[in-house]
């Protein structure tokens, strides 16, 4: 019997390569390529007066120096605005190289191509740029005040404004028995994959073709963007995402300036060119996320039921909006989580600042969050505040506001990021909460608290819930092909950054086709293999490509059974495929190998291999029809697409128990418990790994990481020394519990799990710190120094 692999913790097929140094990441390619380096703006806002390259030209090994003036055709135009939206009133994008103005520290001004990167950096050092320094806009307050404008054409710095209402929230709050208002802040962080971005391009002069590799979350998107920018037919451009060293969102943005410039230079120079982003570049010229300021008004009854919720928030979108306003849109639509307030109003304003642009952080591709952590923080803080006000247990208030299982599917009356009505497909929130409380020992916590107090130790417990829209459309495709050797090739267009796609997609195909998983080989992110795709973000890969591949595999199975039926002269209905052999159920003497059927599927049967020889004993095909009948194609392969009507919704709940040191206000994590529901699970080992990683990013965002801009727009912590990405010593062991409510929306019943761990991070720690300290926590992340200062202020005010 072929062992069923769906649902099993199958070890990853990609590992043996990656653990032995045989992975091929972007910078592992193109050893002989020319290297690019960039002169980047040292100022947050400035006008470029002059660029002097006199000294730089003397450097041996220099190939070319390019400024905006050198750019040609569409390369000289502003970069595209990828996701327009009616609320995005003033979208602005930058140029591949700065055109007169620079709007954040790190914006590229000059591209240098040289024999190697060391030399390219030498050249950059010798280029002298003179600037007229302008007053920068840094931070939400300054952006609102608008004493200076990031873009002169947008004097109020407002890029977008949106209001959504379900019911009359303001009236409901006004008439509610109880009211509260809260101001909540979340600071910037960043995806920070261990591998930076990178682009490598080869121009084939003879065939006028461009092949490029990018460390991207969307090779199809990059391909289309580069073809358009370079004015090349799409067929003349191929883009491959090699092994990618993490994405978490930052690599879904495209085209990055370098993705346009490197291919452009390769064509111009007729030589391979490569750019590998270094860590400092990644900090100051890629993307950040998360700075938002929220004001909340809430009205509720004696029981804690929310009657009206009115959220007004401001979002810092940085200097440009190439990726639209997806983050505040997600915050505004996903803020409600598992709750059903009787009415809801949300208004946001997105603001330009002279800082690095923003991109959904783990909310796009290997995504972990994207606007959701902010929304969950706002909502969960609000629920905690209600509980405190009414002196109710925090979980009781949550339970009273939960959407109930019998109310599924539940229409929230909002439009989601995919432009479709926001309707939760499934989920059992009370069951999740019950599981969480049991696992963390919620009801016994007061005993634990007193035990610690007796030892002079201070502990606290926090809880936070979220719902995560996953598997957003519009579509993905899958291709499955059986070779005559028995090798199964699978391709899908979206990309991989560590999610184990080569394994989980192989699991799906192995089960659908009844073949050993060892025979299945998956390719992702290579436009030569599958040209249509959207990309990896928003925990969509398993749902979208998983289902598409399953559908394609079913086509292959149907065709294989039909051909086998003809060969074995029996009804395909009576056949099964076990271990790559098609056989008659109950009569195993009548059988034919799948790979032999692959030979039969092609009327041209040169006997190259053993399968072809084996096939000679079988006769298939209706002699009254042509060798390839009208409705048929040669080959044992299938291609299909999956395009859902709506997104799926995974959900989860986290609880954390912390200890805070009395004198130094350091936070120690004693326990971290996660309960999550991502529908049917293809590979529990991989899902659990995603949760561990997400929690680590949640802890990081709550207690360690931030982007520390000073007033002049300089990022003060643009290194791993000062951007405090946690080590193993800062991250707790995660205890995870699983609930499976299958999604009714797709054939496999799966939802997606890439972001499960990260979303409630700030909310759950704020809840726990507040519980331990007794005063309100309204701003995250929080450092020991800030917590200690807050304690002091509280004491002084008391």
């Amino acid at each position: 019997m072929t062992t069923k692999s769906f649902g099993e913790p199958i070890l990853r097929k990609e590992d043996p390569r990656l653990v032995s140094g045989q992975g091929r990441y972007l910078d592992d390619l193109g050893h002989d390529a020319l290297a690019a380096a960039f002169l980047r703006s040292p100022h947050a806002s400035a006008r470029i007066l002059d660029i002097d390259v006199t000294d730089a030209l003397e450097v041996p090994g220099l190939i070319g120096i390019y400024t905006y003036e050198d750019l040609e055709g569409r390369v000289a135009e502003p970069l595209p605005l990828l996701i327009p939206h009616p609320a995005l009133l003033n979208g602005r994008t930058g140029y591949p190289l700065a055109n007169e103005y620079v709007r954040h520290v790190g914006e590229a001004i000059v591209m240098v191509i040289a024999e190697d990167r060391y030399v390219a950096e030498d050249v950059v050092d010798l280029i002298k740029v003179s600037y007229e320094i302008l007053k920068p806009v840094v931070g939400i307050e300054n952006a609102k005040a608008a004493h200076n404008a990031v873009h002169p054409s947008v004097p109020n710095n407002v890029s977008a404004h949106s209001v959504k209402e379900v019911g009359d929230a303001r009236a409901m709050i006004e008439s509610a028995p109880h009211k509260l208002s809260l101001d909540l802040f979340i600071e910037r962080s960043a995806c920070s994959p261990l591998e930076g971005k990178g682009v490598y391009a080869i121009w084939e002069e003879d065939s006028q073709e461009l092949r490029l590799w990018s460390s991207t979350q969307t090779s199809t998107g990059v391909r289309a963007a580069v073809a358009a920018k370079l004015d090349l037919p799409l067929q003349k451009v191929e883009c491959i995402a090699p092994d990618v060293g993490g994405g978490f969102g930052v690599k879904i943005m495209h085209p990055w300036p370098e993705e346009v410039l490197i291919p452009w230079a390769a064509r111009k120079l007729k030589r391979p060119v490569k750019w590998s982003e270094d860590r400092r570049e990644h900090f100051i010229s890629s993307a950040h996320e998360r700075a938002q300021e929220h004001h909340i008004e809430v009205g509720f009854d004696e029981e804690g039921r929310i009657l009206g919720l009115d959220v007004t928030f401001f979002h810092d979108n940085g200097a440009y909006t190439p990726y639209g306003i997806i983050i505040p849109l997600i915050t505004s639509t996903q803020l409600l989580g598992p709750y059903k307030p009787a009415s809801y109003r949300v208004e946001f304003t997105s603001l330009f600042t002279n800082t690095v642009l923003v991109i959904p952080y783990r909310g796009a591709g290997r995504p972990r969050g994207a606007g959701r952590p902010q929304g969950v923080f706002a909502m969960e803080r609000t629920v905690d505040a209600i509980a405190k006000y009414l002196k109710l247990d925090r979980t009781v208030v949550r339970e009273r506001n939960f959407i109930q299982p019998h109310e599924m599917p539940y229409d929230l009356g909002l439009i989601f990021q995919d432009g479709r009505p926001l309707e939760y497909d499934s989920g059992d929130f009370p069951a999740s909460m019950a599981m969480l409380k049991k696992m963390v020992g919620w009801d016994d916590f007061e005993t634990m608290r007193s035990e610690y107090a007796a030892m002079g130790r201070k502990i606290g417990i926090g809880v936070a819930c979220y719902v995560e829209g996953t598997g957003v459309g519009p579509y993905e495709g899958g291709f499955v092909q059986v070779e005559t050797s028995g090798r199964i090739n699978v391709a899908t267009g979206l990309t991989s950054q560590g999610q184990g796609h080569q394994t989980v997609f192989a699991q799906i195909v192995a089960d659908e086709l009844g073949v050993p998983i060892e025979d299945v080989f998956v390719t992702t992110g290579d436009t030569r293999r599958f040209p249509y795709a959207v990309g990896t973000f928003a925990s969509r890969a398993a749902v979208m490509s998983g289902n598409a591949i399953a559908l394609a595999a079913r086509q292959v199975r149907d065709k294989a059974l039909r051909l086998a039926g003809e060969a074995l002269e029996c009804d395909p209905q009576d056949l099964e495929i076990v271990d790559g052999i098609i056989r008659v159920k109950g009569d195993h003497t009548k059988s034919i190998a799948l790979k032999t059927v692959a030979v039969l599927s092609n009327p041209l049967r040169y006997a190259f291999d053993e399968s072809a020889k084996a096939a000679t004993q079988f006769a298939v095909g209706d002699t009254s029809k042509p060798p390839v009948p009208e409705d048929q194609e040669p080959g044992l392969e299938g291609k299909d697409y999956y395009s859902p009507m709506a997104s799926t919704f995974a959900n989860g709940m986290h609880a954390v128990i912390i200890e805070i040191l009395p004198e130094t206000a350091e936070v120690k994590i004693l326990r971290y418990v996660v309960v999550h529901d991502c529908g049917r699970v293809i590979n529990p080992m991989i899902v659990e790994g995603q949760i561990h990683g997400g929690v680590a990013q949640g802890v990081a965002g709550a207690l360690y990481e931030r982007m520390a801009y000073d007033e002049s727009g300089q990022l003060q912590n643009a290194s791993f020394m000062d951007f405090l990405m946690p080590y193993s010593t800062e991250i707790p062991t995660v205890e995870a519990g699983h609930l499976e409510t299958p999604s009714p929306l797709n054939p496999l019943g799966i939802k997606g799990a890439g972001e499960a761990g990260v979303i409630p991070g700030s909310a759950v720690f704020a809840s726990a710190i507040e519980d331990a300290e007794g005063f309100e926590i309204r701003r995250m992340p929080i450092s020991p120094s800030e917590l200690w200062e807050l304690r002091r202020t509280m004491k002084e005010n008391a």
Binding site: L18, G21, D27, H31, G245, R279, Y727, T729
Partner: protein, 167 residues
């Protein structure tokens, strides 16, 4: 400007003598990756914090990005490629990572594997807390470290059970 002076740097890498002529400023990580084309050693920050470039210099783990190749000419270096068994099967730490799902994107993994390989030589029976400490100088953005700690313990277990490891 004069062309840059080149130095002949000879190293024994994974048991094989290899050499290249490079400028004095060539970092050992770049020397291995681009001059010797052993790209298993990765570069994540180039300022010594992330640990992706960790290699073994005379058996001891060091940061490849914080050493000039010329400064260690004549030394023996082991990279992640060199920890594969002579018959091509995975070395014991590599196998433990596979079995424990100790990697996701795999970019930081070579630095962890070299570090743990050296650590287990000196501390063959770590506790969970010791395993956590042992990997505390390397950054990973994907795994949350939980399964890397598991991999350390699993590798120790495999060594104890006498599983083949040539290095």
């Amino acid at each position: 400007m004069n062309p840059e002076e080149l130095f002949l740097v000879e190293l024994t890498v994974n048991g094989t003598p290899l050499s290249a002529r490079v400028p004095a400023r060539r970092l050992l990580s770049d020397f291995l990756r681009h001059d010797l084309r052993l790209t298993g050693t990765h570069v994540g920050c180039e300022h010594g914090v992330c640990g992706a470039c960790t290699i073994l210099l005379e058996g001891k783990p060091v940061r490849g990005c914080l050493i000039f190749a010329v400064s260690v000419a004549g030394s023996a270096v082991t990279t992640v490629e060199g920890l594969v068994n002579n018959d091509g099967t995975l070395g014991v730490v590599q196998r433990a990572f596979h079995e424990s799902h100790g990697l996701q994107c795999g970019f930081c993994t070579p630095g962890f594997i070299t570090t743990i390989h050296a650590y287990l030589k000196e501390n063959p029976h770590p506790t969970e807390e010791e395993a956590r400490e042992a990997i505390a100088g390397n950054l990973c953005r994907c795994t949350g470290y939980q399964n890397i700690i598991k991999s350390v313990l699993r590798a120790a277990e495999l060594i104890d059970s006498g599983v083949r490891d040539d290095h």
